[in-house]
Amino acid sequence: MKITMYVNGSEHARDVEPRMLLIHFIRDELGLTGSHWGCDTSNCGACVMWLDEVPVKSCTVLAVMADGRRVTTVEGLARGTRLDPVQQGFTACHGLQCGFCTPGMMMTARWLLDHNPAPTETDVREAISGQVCRCTGYQNIVKSVLWAAAHEGDA
């Protein structure tokens, strides 16, 4: 099937198998390997990206379902050369170790801060509760997101 997708602001047209998963399309067809695959069953959230402006688990979305829609991945998170406050927060607060869950976590965090600029710790924990991190015990991820909220307006 022929599909057109707007990924991180760029238009991409491809002919894909109807069964192709969005995560495979993004990684294998477009070479954007920042989003990861981790479980097949929508449990781990390593594949979280935005479809239009909503975080989705792209291992359970077909690429053809994203036809004509906007997709934002971790590669689209920075504003030009300036890192998103969420990215800055993750490094400032040691919010990542192996880095495999990190892109998905950051995409959710960005969405959270867009909708709730001053989240509580509980808000952050609930927001990322559909995603698994095996390295940080979540402690510093939570801290990173709260750091980002506090530094949102920084130049």
Binding site: R27, H36, H94
Partner: protein, 917 residues
């Protein structure tokens, strides 16, 4: 003084936060093919035929490998890390569900998966051996019936450690012996990234480049050479960014070898990456220890002996990743943090029709099991002695002045101050306050638990004379090159999976040389660019490889001293290393730092004979001993008896890993392990049904803790340097995974004490907790002595202000309960009573719980109840006939229980009635 140590953001973050990490599935080579593995749906089956004709006819399929194809190359079987062999692709039998049968190579991964469906397997199902306890019974089918296994009867080895006779004597003399059976379930480290490889064989150069998810790239290179016959210098192993490992990425898995063979066969790069089900079902299980533990003590709480008998389920092949000389791993460190004079353990390992592996999962192999066993036993002993578990531990800890301490089973601990760690943990947690809170909550019918655990890890293997894996001694190299402009590159053998080696190791070198850590680049994960070493597991990176880096840096520093003396025209003896430079004694301003010295070392400066130019050095570090990090943890839980759900409310962790190079990274490592403790204690388990089906083959069934289950973690630190590590550091990567599960379980058991629950095996899912409450009160199950005392007439009398008259206390409590229940029960019938004596003999066999019906309460005067209680020396029982009691214990019943009543189950009551006719 160099400020290289201390918290500092990680170098590896820059690529990872931009989505520019390079993980195995991100590797893409021109012409690359994609592979998928056909796996056995049966746990035990005789293979008759594997027909790949249809798969080979698929237009996108390049090749299909079967066991027969590998046999032709002598590769159908491969040696394991424990002296056994493991099938790469099965030729004779499938021995576990998920075992590798065929390897399909196709143009893309979808096609490879499609072609799996086209392979036809003819197999005869065999009865699987799934229950470890009957595996060696003689009646069980044989998992291994091939040549060389005759008569083994599914038994792999028997191994023991310690002094059996001395331990026997200690138990014979003991005032108190507590015995328990407990299982440390089969679990899986489940790194978020699964395992995979890209094999690229160049037939012209005869060279294999192998990108693979390995924590031990050099050991893998040697193993691939041994297995394939390719010369080792023609093999380059690259371990890219790893999405976690936790022990699971130590072994060589069949998929790796198949990828190599497929690349050699097709002449093209071949990628194989397992999916999550394959990961959980076929690679890297951990634990699966079935333990019978015994602890002996004096009546005043001095532990005098420890004994354990273990049945270890190793699955279908003995592939445990552990040093050759220690078939039971390091389990025999099981006296752990306590000064126990006599200890003995014996381990029998058996084959079953489950996945092989046996990785450490964030511990030195089997230390997690050892700590769990002793910490549970100590808690049970505290219950038996009616002693506070913190106090019992305090009385038995190894004292600081005893270090270096030799344990009853022969371990020499390097350093420790356990009382200090425990005291800090108790103080950070406000332990006394927690106990007060618990008492208040129990009075309200709320179930809060406080669990303590201490642990001692044994990490940083070797020394090489004691420890090797497949004959490779456990020592690691470091190569350090200081460039003419004074920046440096360090090559190490170990492999980060998120631990931040690129940062910590740069800090180590920078600290020794007075450089900025940003000026030290750490290279790892590429065998062509790094020195040989055994890799990262068992928390050995900083203890071994970090030490190698420091030794190399100090060699550079000594060379620099010679050059500095020439530069400054002074004698070497007149120089001292101070604040990151060689300085002339007595003249602080006169000196040379590494940057200036490096320039001189590469210049035309005329060096004396025997002094090479440049500023490079290498080292191989063979550790003199393991390092022994330790810690004390307190876990606070709240348990809802109605649902059995457990909430970990607080986790206080005091860790001592010696000198902390980057405390931020150290704390991150501890956070991870504490989350592991929550997961392992409460939800993670790989389980099977009797037919051999794995019931935990996805993240929908194998549950991992999320941000909602892991609380905000409270850390404390003490620093007791290792006396033998060059900078006094110990390993930290796995401490918390070792120490934390016991704290969680001890906490939940503490919460459940009023229900008479003494032990339940992990994972403490709501169903397990609820079941434990029920069973704890059911027929034939004795309540813990500690619980009985807490509910004794004395206690009840005190509650009622009748300290001198326990029987009256019981009666008043009963009367009080009765009114409350009737008033507040919303029409439920409420039963409260005390045995009057005439049933005494009948009910004795049913345990300590007796009951009388509603009529007994209303029909008896307080005096009669007093008499009854005195006669029976029994407990008060409350329960609601119509609701099965514990199935729906409302507020009122919970309150009653807290006041000393013991809820009973309906079937117990039926049982009682039946027996009474």
């Amino acid at each position: 003084m160099s400020e290289a140590y201390g918290p500092r953001p990680r170098k590896e973050d820059a690529r990872l936060i931009r989505g520019q990490g390079k993980f195995i599935d991100d590797i893409s080579l021109p012409g690359m093919l994609h592979a998928a593995i056909l796996r056995s749906p049966l746990a035990h089956a005789r293979i008759i035929d594997i027909d790949t004709t249809a798969a080979l006819a698929h237009p996108k399929v390049t090749t299909v490998l079967t066991g027969e194809d590998l046999a032709a190359r002598g590769l159908a079987w491969m040696p394991t890390l424990s002296g056994d062999v493991q099938a790469v692709l099965a030729t004779d039998k499938a021995r576990f569900q998920g075992q590798e049968l065929a390897f399909v190579v196709a143009a893309d991964k979808y096609a490879a998966r499609d072609a799996l469906e086209l392979i036809s397997v003819d197999a005869e199902p065999l009865t699987p051996v799934m229950d470890v306890s009957v595996a060696t019974s003689g009646d069980a089918p044989l998992v291994r019936d091939e040549e060389g296994f005759a008569g083994s009867g599914n038994r792999i080895f028997d191994w023991s450690a310690g002094d059996e006779a001395a331990t026997e004597a200690a138990f014979a003399r003991a005032d108190v012996v507590v015995t328990a059976d407990m299982t440390y379930p089969r679990i899986h480290p489940a790194p978020l990234e699964t395992c995979g490889a890209v094999a690229d064989y160049d037939p012209v150069e005869g060279r294999l480049t192998m990108w693979v998810t390995t924590q031990a790239p050099h050991a893998h290179r040697t193993l691939y050479a041994m297995l394939t016959g390719l010369p080792e210098h023609k093999i380059r192993v690259i371990s890219p960014d790893l999405g976690g490992g936790f022990g699971g990425k130590v072994p060589v898995y069949p998929g790796y070898l198949c990828a190599i063979v497929a690349s050699m066969t097709t002449g093209r790069p071949v990628k194989w990456v397992e999916d999550r089900s394959e990961n959980l079902m076929s690679t890297a299980f951990a634990r699966d220890f079935h333990m019978h533990g015994e602890i002996a003590a004096t009546s005043d709480g001095r532990i005098t002996g420890l004994r354990a008998r273990i049945l270890a389920d190793h699955g279908a092949f003995n592939a445990v990743a552990q040093p050759t000389k220690y078939p039971g791993g390091f389990f025999h460190i099981f006296t752990s943090s306590y000064d126990i004079p006599a200890a003995y353990c014996s381990i029998t390992a058996v084959y079953t029709n489950k996945a092989p592996g046996g990785v450490a999962y964030s511990c030195s192999i089997r230390v997690a099991e050892a700590v769990y066993l002793v910490e549970r036993l100590v808690d049970m002993l505290a219950g038996r002695l009616d002693m506070d578990p913190a106090e019992l531990r305090s009385r038995n800890l190894i004292r600081p002045e005893q270090f270096p301490y030799t344990s009853a089973t022969g371990w020499e601990y390097d350093s420790g101050d356990y009382p200090r760690a425990l005291a800090l943990a108790l103080s950070l947690s406000d332990y006394e306050g927690l106990r007060r809170e618990q008492a208040e909550k129990r009075a309200r019918g709320e179930y809060m638990g406080i669990g303590i655990s201490l642990f001692t890890e044994a990490v940083g293997a070797g020394p090489r004379k004691h420890m090797d894996i497949v004959g490779l001694g456990m020592a690691d190299g470091a190569d350090l090159r200081v460039h003419p402009t004074g920046t440096a590159v360090l090559g190490v053998s170990v492999q980060t999976q998120g631990q931040g080696h690129e940062t910590t190791f740069a800090q180590l070198v920078a600290h020794e040389l007075g450089l900025d850590p940003d000026d030290v680049e750490v290279v790892h994960g590429d065998t062509d660019r790094t020195p040989f070493g055994l890799g990262t597991y068992g928390s050995r990176s900083t203890p071994v490889s970090g030490a190698a880096a420091v030794v190399a840096a100090r060699r550079v520093r000594e060379r620099a001293r010679i050059i500095a003396a020439l530069m400054l025209e002074v004698a070497e003896a007149d120089l001292e290393w101070l604040d990151g430079a060689w300085r002339v004694r007595g003249d602080y301003a006169a000196g040379a730092g590494i940057v200036e010295i490096a320039r001189a070392a590469h210049s035309s400066l005329d060096l004396p004979d025997g002094v090479d130019g440049h500023l490079d050095a290498s080292a191989v570090y063979n550790p003199p001993n393991l390092t022994f990090p330790f810690g004390a943890y307190v876990c606070v839980t709240d348990v809802d008896p109605a649902t059995g759900s457990v909430v970990v409310r607080r986790f206080i962790a005091v860790d001592d890993c010696g000198v902390r190079i980057n405390p931020m990274i150290v704390e991150g490592q501890i956070h991870r392990g504490l989350a592991d403790g929550v997961g392992i204690a409460l939800m993670q388990a790989i389980t099977f049904d009797a037919a051999g089906n794995c019931l935990s083959g996805s993240f929908m069934d194998y549950l991992l803790p999320t941000a909602l289950e892991v609380p905000s973690l409270e850390l404390g630190a003490t620093v007791t340097p290792s006396p033998h590590h060059p900078v006094g550091a110990k390993g930290i990567g796995e401490s918390a995974t070792v120490g934390s599960p016991a704290a969680v379980v001890n906490s939940v058991m503490d919460a459940l004490a009023p229900f008479g629950v003494v032990h339940a095996d992990m994972p403490l899912t709501p169903a397990v907790v609820w079941g434990a409450i029920s069973r704890g009160l059911g027929p034939g199950r004795r309540l813990g002595r500690r619980d009985l005392r807490r509910r004794s007439g004395d206690a009840l009398a005190r509650d009622q202000g009748r300290g001198e008259d326990p029987a009256l206390g019981v009666a008043l409590a009963v009367a009080d309960l009765s009114e409350q229940q009737v008033d507040g029960g919303g029409g439920d019938r409420v039963e409260v009573g005390a045995d009057r004596g005439q049933w005494r003999d009948e009910v004795r066999g049913l345990g300590d719980v007796v009951e009388a019906n509603h009529a007994d309460v209303v029909g008896h005067s307080p005096a009669a109840l007093v008499q009854g209680a005195q006669d029976a020396e029994r407990q008060v029982v409350v329960g609601r006939e119509d609701r099965g009691d514990l199935g729906h214990p409302g507020e009122d019943l919970a309150g009653a229980v807290a006041r000393g009543g013991v809820p009973v189950r309906r079937h117990h009551r039926r049982d009682l009635r039946a027996r009474l006719g």
